[in-house]
Symmetry: C2
Subunit: 198 residues, 2 copies
């Protein structure tokens, strides 16, 4: 049976559209400090972190579901851009911009496939399922390493203080509680060395 052309064409359009996520710049730096990280390589990093850290999930976890969620979690930024987590004004209409992006981008796929992947993105955003909690925790956790390896990175650049970072990291308490002491230890060290305001 030949491949139905419309189906594969939609899938290829989606795959080609994904490429643009490599041009979406995040605020944090890559660990050698040479440039900002982009959302595609960030997504790769968090997905592989999920594989390595799955054992710390606090209960039963569908790891492949969490990995797929992390691979997808930022694709709406292709249209909506990255919204800096400490920018309260830009976060005001973030949800609306990202919903429109999801409709267009997942809409490139065959309907049942696009709906399934969009539902996974919505599950990540809602942050309620075990997989979404785990994935959200890793999304936050990754940035800690980058800031501590770049003399404070976005913390210093945007004059962020520890209580703001702790609010941002709060999902880790539920999603990856076993790693909360690691978070605290990194923040203790960052305050002691002066790269994060107390």
């Amino acid at each position: 049976m030949p491949t139905p052309p419309a189906r594969i064409e939609g899938q290829i359009a989606f795959i080609e559209t994904l490429d643009a996520l490599k041009q979406v710049s995040r605020r944090n730096l890559v660990m050698d400090g040479s440039r900002c990280e982009n959302s595609a390589e960030h997504s790769w990093h968090t997905a592989l972190m999920a594989v390595v850290l799955a054992e710390y999930a606090p209960g039963p976890l569908d790891l492949p579901r969490a990995v797929t969620m992390l691979l997808l979690h930022d694709v709406v930024e292709i249209d909506a851009g990255d919204t800096f987590c400490y920018d309260e004004a830009a976060n005001g209409d973030k949800a609306e911009r990202e919903r429109a992006a999801a409709a267009r981008i997942f809409g490139l796929l065959p309907p049942e496939q696009g709906d399934a992947l969009r539902a996974l993105w919505e599950e990540f955003e809602a942050g309620q399922s075990p997989e979404a909690r785990f994935a959200n925790s890793l999304d936050r956790f990754q940035v800690l390493f980058q800031n501590r390896n770049t003399q404070g990175g976005t913390w210093r650049l945007h004059d962020i203080a520890r209580p703001q970072v702790e609010r941002r990291m709060a999902p880790i308490r539920q999603g990856l509680p076993a790693l909360w002491p690691v978070v605290q230890s990194i923040l203790d060290d960052a305050c002691a060395s002066g790269i994060l305001k107390p």
Copy 2:
């Protein structure tokens, strides 16, 4: 029970080491032609392609295994660098350089975890299992889109002709035979429009 410190420290060392893959430059361009693609964002792209194109696998496929393989398939380049597929001299000692890299990088992890992930990388390299064939096919397939979207990209830059591309794409015949007509159609168009030598 507190997390055994040595275990999590090894895992964090691995996660921090991964960041360097974002600085490994491949030969092909990202699709807007503005710069070379790096191996981290390439790995993300192929992993998400696996999710989207799994239905075309020619037989039973452990998709999570294939996705993890694609997330990992280039991490040895952190030490060994990217070897251009059409550079025959550099490909001479590629296997040896990459084996040493695998020993160091996967060796950062707790032994049983590092061994399991290293085995998955070796399985990808061997290209024999259904998952390895599928993953290798996607690794090749992705570059097609990038070259056709960048006026020939590496094909033009390195004066590559269609028979060389067909040899490079050959794993797709076994790993993703349903997509071989798509490969042929892209190469037909590329030759017709002059971005690939016949």
